[in-house]
Symmetry: C2
Subunit: 355 residues, 2 copies
Amino acid sequence: MGLPQLVQRLGAPGQFLDPAAVDFVCISDNYYTGKTKPCLTHGLRGNVYFHLEVLCSSKDMHSGVIGGSVHEAMTDCVHLMASLVDPSGKILVEGIHDDIAPVTEHERASVANVEFDIEEYKKDTGIDVLGKKARFLYDSKEEILMHRWRYPTLSLHGIEGAFSGTGSKTVIPAKVTGKFSIRIVPNMSPEAVHAAVRKHVEAQFAKLGSACQMKLTMAKAGNWWYRDPDDPNFKAAAAATVRAHGQEPALTREGGSIPITEVFEAVCDASCVLIPIGASDDGAHSQNEKLDRKNYFNGIKTLGCYVDELAKLVPPVPAPFGGDPVGDKRRNAKRRRCKIDLMAFGCDCLDCQVD
Amino acid sequence: MGLPQLVQRLGAPGQFLDPAAVDFVCISDNYYTGKTKPCLTHGLRGNVYFHLEVLCSSKDMHSGVIGGSVHEAMTDCVHLMASLVDPSGKILVEGIHDDIAPVTEHERASVANVEFDIEEYKKDTGIDVLGKKARFLYDSKEEILMHRWRYPTLSLHGIEGAFSGTGSKTVIPAKVTGKFSIRIVPNMSPEAVHAAVRKHVEAQFAKLGSACQMKLTMAKAGNWWYRDPDDPNFKAAAAATVRAHGQEPALTREGGSIPITEVFEAVCDASCVLIPIGASDDGAHSQNEKLDRKNYFNGIKTLGCYVDELAKLVPPVPAPFGGDPVGDKRRNAKRRRCKIDLMAFGCDCLDCQVD
């Protein structure tokens, strides 16, 4: 059972994530854009992960004894992988860009406001190891952030089944599986991406004229997520950040994918805020991943204040005995939203009047 | 210390491989072309093995958080590997074919005489797993054998440093090393192949416009080997094969590389014969590698008879006390060659007259 199944099971009436009992969701699983400025995150890219298997034999072969007579799976696999993306990062799969939502002026302005230091980012990513020639695919802060958060990307992760050890093995691998994934953004869908990749890979493979067998599998499909931060959950998180850090959080998006966000929102019928507490140089999924002590303690403070801010926001409304807890919760949620509206603009809806 | 260094050390006067004491060399490290017909092998391809390292960072990166902003080592590596060879097996490195010796009529005739069953070879290689679509790069016996023995080939073995496990890891690997090797034939040289590959890879890498660092290393260089089988060593091995198997051996070449052959010949100042005792389906370097019991016992018989045949061939000529054993050995070797010639054509050289 994976986390989505667990969350779904716990979302039943009377369970820990009973939608009648959950008002807001918070996930802390992403990063600042720099090292000190706190932020709240309201968008994630999705991720569609593919396994591209090529088979040429039932067993590995000797490249001297047999090489020259057989179609080699590695050759096909490497040609197919090279056909997916060029070295400038451009995805070469036809039609993949069709569904991308046009970038709004608001989005451009939002990115322009983010504090981000390109030279620091060279150290964070480790590309400073390339010395004076170290450079990103794009030169400006805005382009770099937009290509991390708002545009799709395709990464080639590796090949399973080929020789991956140290040294020099003279093998023709029998079956190799290329691994690659595409980060998707509004309004791309995993289904459309899958269809486009399949069409591309099948056409490219046909061109190779190979006797090998090729099989494409979509191994994972996590959708993108986007929430308008003008929401009580975000307001509570922002107030908490001010109390813990002494400054307003930046509003950011994130290039990574946290597919459980959507599941929590759907199961709990509640909005989610992402409150990162890690710095940009924490090195997620890399060697020597770390969390600064300062971020650890400020994170504890922020999350404590966040719960306190939520408590201020939400008046406890117990479900009447024998009543309809889900219905009550929905009414309460509406009431809370109205309360927020009331504080800002006034409200005269029926629910509020009843309250 | 590797085997070449060991052989060289043992080649000193008084040691096990003292050239004064070694008359002939035999290696049993290759295979029949089929499963029953014994053979003697008089040619090997060489192998030049390359490591193609591409570096994009000091540490692995998260493909979501960072993907879209950095030049990715895997993308460059896969593009460079795809530029080396096409799916039909054609090597795309410019100039690589320049030094290949023209194929002689004798070579063509020799290959035409080899017993070789294409359908059996499908089972031996394991490509029969592809079912009815299973086919080789070439359709005829002659082309298949010539491309295994007499033409160069390039195989892509794998990539070190990329994600090679099962499952779906969303990593941008920091440093990947593509492994590939080229089997070389007369009159290619490892040095010329190295120079051509370096020129090709550097030109291709420049075209990519990447910020990554690329480094090509020639990890191994084993030369091809060819010996005219009209030689007493081969005649002894042939006579032994007839005694053990009841049939004349085929004369074959081999696509694999046994670089120690050249070292033994040079250190011992003696000719080498390759006496394979394994069948074509033994699966060298593969899963479930095996040796048939029949071949094992017939191999023992063949090698015993071979020593007996050599003993008949070589009259023991002890070095005179205080004499020059190496000089004696060389004279003896010349004398033996003349003896063989004498048997066939008559000989009146001084050495033979002295004997």
